[in-house]
Symmetry: C2
Subunit: 191 residues, 2 copies
DNA sequence: TGGTTTGTTCAATCATTACTGAACATTCTG
DNA sequence: CAGAATGTTCAGTAATGATTGAACAAACCA
């Protein structure tokens, strides 16, 4: 199951005085955990591992080659998975003007993007319910209840979730900058 | 891909005068769609098909044998998948006192249950973020930002989602019974 | 009681998906 | 320009997960 237990020896940068290789173990565990979590939400495990490493890597941006080395995976796999993560909108590519290498990093607001992705699913479920209701057009109301409930709750979520996200953004921009006033994610070429 | 195009001939009950076998086609499509949607949220396709059929079947409760026949699947598969759906909380088992046969049907409030399931995932992500922050305890704040954002938005959702669900329940019990006043889902042995 | 119907479990098979590694771009560098 | 470094694509393989079908268990009935 865990075939690559060694890939952190190469990146011992996260060792503290207290725990010698303990931290490396924890890092490995963190990455693996991230992979499992991604799997839980129907994304490939390797994508989760990449995301996991980008969450804790120093520096926060990593090249394809680095990712392949740290995660002990083929470049092909990394290439495919970063493409997926880019598409989902949770990482972004940064190419330094003078360098030919590309770097990836977690996209600020990654989670809003994921929520938007989730909205697509909710809409799909509402539409399915409506499709079902069309099929049951001539049936008695009590038979249609199941589908109406399904349609209504998803319509409800479609209305509420954006509002909720907005509340989040607002709360975030209110208190966030007080901690790190200079970091504006909007045009984030501050590296 | 679609190997069983025939399983609705046996259940032509949902044919209207207008569309002869058109409705059967639509039903098949509906079930298949439901399967794909479930797959999208990391549940097995067959579970989605069962759920789909239970959404539109007449009567709304179906036995294991019926499910196997309609969906052209083995009893083993149905047994496993119904168990899963029971566990997730979106269907329930009804055993009529006089019959030895068990029936399944969509659980009223199925969607609240699914949302609660979803909450488990959200909590898992928040915990992962906290795990990451523990790893980065000694790092500079700007390096910790990624994880703090992740932790905060998930904590936010953990607070907000239950409130949202409650609002839904309230709105539902307000207008729902006006349409079908007698149908109280709480103790639902009204079949 | 023996026979029938119903439901579960599990080993084996089938299908799908993830992953690798090598061949092929592409871009920079000397 | 040749050579080196970086990235992508894709056919083949490995790993995983879904599905079957047969054997078993339990409940009911005559």
């Amino acid at each position: 199951m865990q075939q690559n237990l060694t890939y952190l020896v190469k990146y011992p940068s996260r060792q503290t005085e207290t725990g010698k290789t303990e931290t490396a173990q924890d890092t490995k565990h963190f990455i693996e955990e991230s992979g499992l979590l991604f799997e839980m939400v129907a994304l490939p495990r390797m994508a989760g591992r990449i995301f996991g490493w980008l969450l804790i890597s120093n520096p926060p941006y990593q090249s394809l080659g680095e990712l392949a080395e740290v995660l002990q995976a083929s470049k092909g796999s990394i290439s495919t998975m970063t493409r997926l993560l880019l598409q989902v909108g949770v990482i972004e590519r940064m190419s330094l003007p003078s360098q030919r290498r590309d770097y990836f990093r977690i996209k600020p607001n990654a989670w809003s993007h994921l929520t938007r992705q989730r909205m697509v699913q909710i809409t799909a479920f509402r539409k399915l319910a409506e499709q079902g209701l069309a099929l049951m057009a001539t049936e008695t109301p009590s038979l249609r209840d199941r589908l109406e409930e399904m349609r209504d709750i998803h319509a409800f979520c479609e209305r509420e979730l954006p509002a909720m996200l907005e509340r989040w953004e607002q709360q975030r921009t209110k208190e966030g900058p007080s901690i790190a006033p200079e970091r504006n994610h909007a045009n984030s070429h501050d590296w």
